[in-house]
Assembly symmetry: C2
Homo-oligomer: 441 residues x 2
Amino acid sequence: MAHSRQLHLGAFMRPVSMHTGAWRYPGAIHDANFNFAALKRFAQKLEEGKFDAFFMADHLGVLNMPVEALKRSHTVTSYEPFTLLSALAGVTERIGLVATASTTFEEPFHVARRFASLDHLSGGRAGWNVVTTANPDNGKNFGYEDQPDHAARYARAREFYDVVTGLWDSFADNAFVRDAESGIYFDPDRLHVLRHKGAHFSVRGPLNIARPVQGWPVIVQAGASEPGRQLAAETAEAVFGAENTLEGAKRFYADVKDRMRRVGRDPGLLKILPAAFVVVGDTIEEARAKRAHLDSLVHYDSGIHSLSGALNFDVSGFDPDGPLPEIPETNASKTARDRLLEMARTQTLTIRQLAATAGSYAGLAFVGTPASIADDMEQWLYESGADGFNIMFPFLPEGLDLFVDQVIPELQRRGLFRTEYEGTTLRDHLGLPRPSNRFFD
Amino acid sequence: MAHSRQLHLGAFMRPVSMHTGAWRYPGAIHDANFNFAALKRFAQKLEEGKFDAFFMADHLGVLNMPVEALKRSHTVTSYEPFTLLSALAGVTERIGLVATASTTFEEPFHVARRFASLDHLSGGRAGWNVVTTANPDNGKNFGYEDQPDHAARYARAREFYDVVTGLWDSFADNAFVRDAESGIYFDPDRLHVLRHKGAHFSVRGPLNIARPVQGWPVIVQAGASEPGRQLAAETAEAVFGAENTLEGAKRFYADVKDRMRRVGRDPGLLKILPAAFVVVGDTIEEARAKRAHLDSLVHYDSGIHSLSGALNFDVSGFDPDGPLPEIPETNASKTARDRLLEMARTQTLTIRQLAATAGSYAGLAFVGTPASIADDMEQWLYESGADGFNIMFPFLPEGLDLFVDQVIPELQRRGLFRTEYEGTTLRDHLGLPRPSNRFFD
Ligand SMILES: Cc1cc2nc3c(=O)[nH]c(=O)nc-3n(C[C@H](O)[C@H](O)[C@H](O)COP(=O)(O)O)c2cc1C
Ligand SMILES: Cc1cc2nc3c(=O)[nH]c(=O)nc-3n(C[C@H](O)[C@H](O)[C@H](O)COP(=O)(O)O)c2cc1C
């Protein structure tokens, strides 16, 4: 089937992988968290596969978990995004570089400046994953006893975005004339002093950096709540979805694009990229066996912690090899909980079996052959569940290499993915226009 | 003369040069501010010359100057230090990378994390130039109407340093066991939660990154005031001096090292590196002619602004070709002012001539042949005016290339400078020990 649309692919990267068991998988690079040579190799391989972007998630602290689970986690410590992505900018040519930065615990001047700098360094490849930082413990690293509440975080995020984009527009694109003869370096009439004064920020400006190559780095968002979707509809150019069924993804897709229409934005200006965990095998059975092997590497102490978290009820005191006790109702998120309760009932699983499931990756997964994975992706694209995916590799380097060497060619054969980068910037890859400067034409 | 001691050399970099006229000099790369290829070439050339470090100064805003001077300035806009130095980390192997970060307008958690990340990315080459941000306008970009006062800035800086170094010590060096067999990634007994509560900061910790390769990135400082020197004596491992006579430098050197003894620190643990502007010629006359040519490229509008600033009195309304009027006494810094007044009197210079001097570089300069420059440096080292220098190149790439190709070999011939890097970290280059972890041995 010929598509006019093609997939957009981000790589949702943690150095060792998102999966809790991945570092124990045969061939894993145990120390990839602090092994720049490994990260460089991953980024260059993704670029060989013509990925739109290398995306780096981020948290502002060590996650709060019981020490028995914590000591088994390889995701707790790694590089900081601005520094890692800048280093990768120096050793890659085309791939986009999306860094996560918090609107709750950062200053807009610094954020505007660092993304502008990354955009200049990389020749227009920067993207900003705007997060409000949901983890309640992170605030304790920044002088807060309690996390600011959800609505307050989103109100601050909206104003933060206004300040950052306003600062990016400090200089007109043609401000720098650099005329050695007359000695004029830039045209002061093409400099705008922001003088922002709002409820959360007072920022004079101008930014001490030329307008980014892309005008603005690409705005990315991942909030799932009402205000999260609204912020995405008003501001985002790419959204990382977290739906794990096609039906849910279609509803999410339609909802966000509807919200865009209601605020007067063209829905084509935002790409929806659900996070997808992809395991590649020569046969579907082999892929499933790899995943089962990987899941088996999640230690019980990690799994039971995840299970208790998903159920919002501590089950660590019960017999691992017995059935799940009666679980009380909860006000917390129910998606993962209901799925686990359903599995426990229909498959009569023990606590140990449920812990293995809960501790491994529970979201959208495509586990199969290059052809079956391409079929799934094609369907999601075709049925407007996605404009592409934010791929999570189960283990590195193998999972990444198989994706680039086997799935990408299959997608290319079907006309679903580019065979060459057509432009040089992340906006080019995503098919997004360069924003005009609000102060200059 | 054989020395047991050798010079340490930093490169005090702005992409186009520190000198206001440099971008108009023949061969200058006008757009080096946003030309990563040029910066990469400069860093690699410095590494070929075995420099200890690439040092990047920083300001948190566009400097406040009259528009007639501002529009001629090439130093106003450029890359941000963490992003630039991280990108350079990816394309260099040995040279140290010193970034400026403000204790007044940053958060200690972010600063600790970014330097730790840069240190890991670069294999132990990071240094932190601790500044309190003297420019009163920068605060307006961070919600302050007025700059916090000098004493308050230094009190905050001292506590900021304690928090950052405490966070760097979050994990013992041997915390990460990564035992795939047992599934234990790190030893939780080798993790320390800081729980800092002080007058300025409340930071729980731990830092979500392993202890830096160097233990701590190298601490650099450049404050000249009483509290600045005291902070240096208590915390710094390298100081960028700003004295421009050997006599003054010797007093500064002795003062800072005395202060170290008084707080119980070994004076060998701090290297004093005055900033030095170096112009290389085949003859002394040629070097002077280059400098004169460079100075002549400073536009009158820039020069008169600098002259008024140095005198703390606006002289822009007077006849450029007439003499200086009577200048009232001032409470501002008098070093530059007194030198200019003395020049005006003894050499009967016009305002235009004085503006040319004030607008060009007025600090310590070595202008001559490789041999005469090496003589000067040798004397400063030998007479304990310096442990080395933070070199400013008058124009790029020529000034940098001449230094590496001609001055470095002359220093090497005299045994005053390394011919090969002996270690891999910035601490190795500077001859500084790796700090022990305050919470673990
Ligand atoms: C694919 C994906 C990636 C995310 N990455 C991050 C991240 O790197 N850092 C972060 O603090 N939150 C991250 N989040 C969390 C979201 O930013 C958001 O806080 C969360 O989805 C809750 O949404 P809400 O605050 O709108 O309820 C991510 C979410 C998704 C779905
Ligand atoms: C060689 C040198 C480099 C400096 N670099 C910076 C810099 O990059 N950013 C900055 O804000 N201040 C910089 N300064 C200024 C000092 O941090 C300090 O504010 C100034 O010397 C005044 O010192 P005081 O605050 O102790 O009076 C530098 C000073 C010198 C001598």
